[in-house]
């Protein structure tokens, strides 16, 4: 809830490792087949991607030929590596010159740590689809990522340490499946301002819908932004009460990136007939599911596993949360009184009815409703928990 935040994202890696391909799949709606048309990137291609209205990613796609890289590390060093929020470094798993690849990586990461010490580093080991047939256990990936972590540690120890260093995470990726969405979701998740606030609102929306989960997706890329309840990568022990009660632990951990892939694929098909996707509702196997636009830049997916929940209930609640969630990304003075925002200390919270006790805040209304329906709720939860 502030002015637009600009974050610089460097996309680096050797020539032909797939940097521009993945950028095109994620941000430009290319299908994996379409990327065959792409040529080599010359020097640095900059592009700005607006995300959630309040976040702009400045994407620096850096051509990977040795001549360019040498130049980045010398003449352009200050321009390239200053003020970096995230470095995404792409390796090709099929590369035969690993020693060489690693040496360049080490030089780049040293340059990065010197100029932007707190930048996060995401290493994507790409083209996994080409080796998965012969190496299904991904031994080669394990070795490669181990090498990379070692280099990162060595670079850290060489730095005269001032304590603040961004972390490094490694992902296996392929543009042919959902693994790419997983890696990129992880990147943007750390860049979004107010992510905790978004999560708190999603959890609240989930609760009033008596749903298993409510998940927010960015509208253009369909990358997952956040989900209700426990964090995105959490294991079964970290689930909250409602998730446990409805059995969210039995769900696939890869479901969000799969949904990204499914929806993006379908959206591409729709475009061919001149139509655009605006959401759906579904009922199957006791699940009620609604996927709808939440704000201009977000879609929300609400999944309920209770047969008494109708899709109309979910749609009604989404409808009533839309105006608030749209304003809170952009404004600091809210039109809608909201208890979740009020309790958040990072926010400057101003609203016209704030001191009028007869006007309920969004989540207080729910608390009161719960008291009124206390007995009903108790009965519902007894049925749900079962014995």
């Amino acid at each position: 809830m502030s002015a637009t935040a600009k974050r610089k994202v460097l996309l680096m890696g050797k020539s032909g490792s797939g940097k521009t391909s993945m950028r095109s799949v994620i941000f430009q709606n290319y299908s994996a087949r379409d990327t065959r048309r792409l040529g080599a990137t010359i020097d640095v291609e900059q592009s700005a991607v607006r995300f959630l209205g309040s976040l702009v990613l400045n994407l620096w796609d850096c051509g990977g030929q040795n001549a360019f890289v040498d130049n980045y590390l010398t003449a352009q060093k200050d321009t390239i590596f200053a003020n970096v929020a995230v470095l995404i470094y792409v390796f090709d798993i099929t590369s035969t010159e690993w020693e060489n690849d690693v040496r360049y990586f080490e030089e780049i990461i040293s340059a990065l740590r010197e100029n932007s010490s707190d930048a996060g580093v995401w290493v994507l080991i790409n083209k996994m689809d080409l080796v998965d047939k012969e190496d299904p256990k991904r031994k080669k990936y394990a070795e490669r990522s181990e090498d990379i972590v070692k280099i990162d540690e060595r670079v850290r120890s060489e730095m005269s340490d001032d304590g603040r260093r961004g972390g490094l995470r490694c992902f296996p990726t392929s543009i042919w499946d959902e693994s790419l969405y997983k890696a990129w979701s992880s990147v943007i998740h750390t860049l979004i301002p107010n992510i905790n606030l978004i999560t708190a609102h999603l959890t609240y929306l989930r609760d009033i819908c008596m749903a298993v989960e409510a998940v927010a997706f960015e509208a253009e890329t369909f990358l997952v932004i956040s989900k209700s309840g426990s964090p995105l990568d959490s294991n079964e022990a970290e689930l909250d009460d409602q998730e446990t009660r409805y059995g969210a632990g039995s769900l696939s951990k890869h479901r969000f990136e799969k949904i990204s892939e499914i929806i993006k694929g379908f959206r591409k098909t729709c475009q061919r007939t001149g139509e655009s996707f605006t959401g759906f509702e579904a009922k199957f196997d006791d699940c009620t599911v609604v996927l709808e636009p939440l704000t201009q830049n977000q879609f929300v997916l609400v999944v309920a596993a209770d047969p008494i929940v109708e899709s109309a209930l979910i749609q009604y609640n989404i409808y009533h949360s839309q105006s608030h969630l749209a304003e809170f990304a952009r404004k600091s003075v809210l039109d809608r009184k909201c208890g979740i925002c009020r309790r958040n200390t990072e926010l400057k919270y101003e609203v016209k009815d704030d001191d009028d006790p007869s006007v309920l805040a969004w989540d207080e209304a729910w608390d009161r409703l719960k008291q009124v329906n206390g007995r009903l709720n108790e009965r519902i939860s007894r049925v749900e928990i079962g014995d």
Partner: protein, 394 residues
């Protein structure tokens, strides 16, 4: 080859009630898939009926012996995948027991169309003589490898190759299989003409909807109940203000019947992909519903087994004593979904039977103003389709 004790073409899809489980293979409509080495027979079958992703077809080994693939849909099928060195003599059932023969040709092998046609023409004639009702289809495969212009040219070339091979065929060599007088040119002319009008040509590719469309026409060719199901769909489409309706086989995403209006590649691609993507999505969450069934209600658990579209259930026959309708819970809600597209269209689906799902295309304003009426009419359509199937299977 003795033909006397064989079931005639018309009957084979109608199992008598006395047919037991061990006669399962007689009950099934047999489809023979032939073609040269590396023409793409196995990929034509497996990408559609066994959920093998198109990206994996390049890794298939060549088929070494007959492989019979049983598949349950609106009618039970048995698809025979053959090795490339296929000889009629190695077949352990009579040629006349096949309801359809599919010949797969690689569109890229344009220097050998005639050579490839010759063995097919021989089998085609033998099959025709033993059972004139047999259906023929030629899948002109790997169509994606050529540009639009060349595709059309090669398509015509293949049709011409078949016509010429039929003309030049030494019919007298077939004398032992038939009492017809092949030295009489009027007899052979009748055969040539009737076969030429029978053979369907379909351009196919594992990368788009064309392969499923080709299979759709193969299935429709052997569905006796097709006209009655179609007339129900047409009636519903007209009376409820639909743009289009399609009845899909859920697992394979093949259309088994439609209202036949404005059926073009773009909308077929749209509805097929819509169904495919939604079923993928539903797979991610369906375990939420199952979990409850396991705990509380065993009968429900059974029912969701029947609806399970994730796993191919090969041994379904053994654990299912009755028919699908006996195992359904009449009060369970049907699977349904609707997707809104801008600016005009809404796509929606409803599950009709464990294998079949209806997909409709409708104007969004019609959907919004008349949804209640559409869903009301739909219950009758669903009932009608189910009644027809029960009648056929009973």
């Amino acid at each position: 080859m003795s033909r006397s004790q064989l079931p005639s073409q018309g009957e084979s899809s109608r199992p008598r009630s006395s047919v037991g489980r061990h006669d399962d293979s007689i009950r099934r409509q047999k489809i023979l898939v032939l073609g040269w080495r590396k023409a793409g027979k196995t990929s034509c079958i497996k990408t559609v009926f066994e959920h093998v992703p198109p990206s994996e077809v390049a890794y298939f080994d060549s088929t070494q012996k007959f492989e019979k693939i049983d598949y349950d849909t609106i009618i039970p099928l048995q698809i025979w995948d053959t090795p490339s060195n296929f000889e009629l003599e190695t077949l352990d059932v009579p040629l006349s027991s096949f309801s359809t023969i599919i010949y797969v040709m690689d569109i890229q092998a344009d220097d050998s169309y005639h050579e490839a046609m010759l063995p097919f023409v021989r089998i085609l004639l033998r099959a025709y003589l033993s059972n004139p009702a047999v259906k023929f289809a030629v899948f002109i495969h790997k169509a994606e490898s050529l540009s639009e212009d060349y595709r059309g040219e090669n398509y015509a070339e293949i049709q011409r190759a078949l016509a010429e091979e039929l003309e030049d065929f030494p019919y007298t060599s077939l004398q032992q299989y038939s009492s017809l007088n092949f030295s009489d040119p009027s007899v052979t002319n009748i055969i040539i003409n009737s076969i030429q009008s029978e053979v369907r040509f379909d351009m196919t590719s594992v990368h788009d909807v064309s392969l499923r469309e080709a299979w759709s026409r193969v299935l429709q060719g052997i569905m006796e109940m097709l006209p009655s199901v179609e007339s129900l769909l047409i009636n519903f489409t007209g009376s409820s203000g639909m743009d289009n309706t399609y009845l899909f086989d859920m697992e394979s995403r093949v259309v088994v019947a439609s209202d036949n209006r404005g059926r073009n590649d773009a909308t077929m691609q749209l509805v097929t992909e819509y169904l495919d993507k939604f079923l993928q999505f539903a797979d991610l969450y369906k375990c939420l519903g199952k979990r409850k069934d396991d705990g509380e209600d065993l009968e429900n658990g059974d029912m969701s087994n029947g609806r399970d579209n994730g796993v191919p259930d090969d041994d379904e026959e053994e654990d299912e004593p009755g028919s699908w309708w006996d195992q359904e819970d009449p009060d369970a809600p049907w699977m349904t979904q609707s997707t809104k597209l801008m600016p005009n269209t809404t796509i929606a689906l409803w599950q009709f039977t464990p294998h079949l799902v209806l997909v409709i295309l409708v104007r969004t304003d019609t959907w919004q103003t008349r949804r209640g009426m559409i869903e009301y009419n739909l219950t009758f359509l669903r009932q009608g389709v189910r009644r027809i199937l029960m009648e056929v299977e009973a």
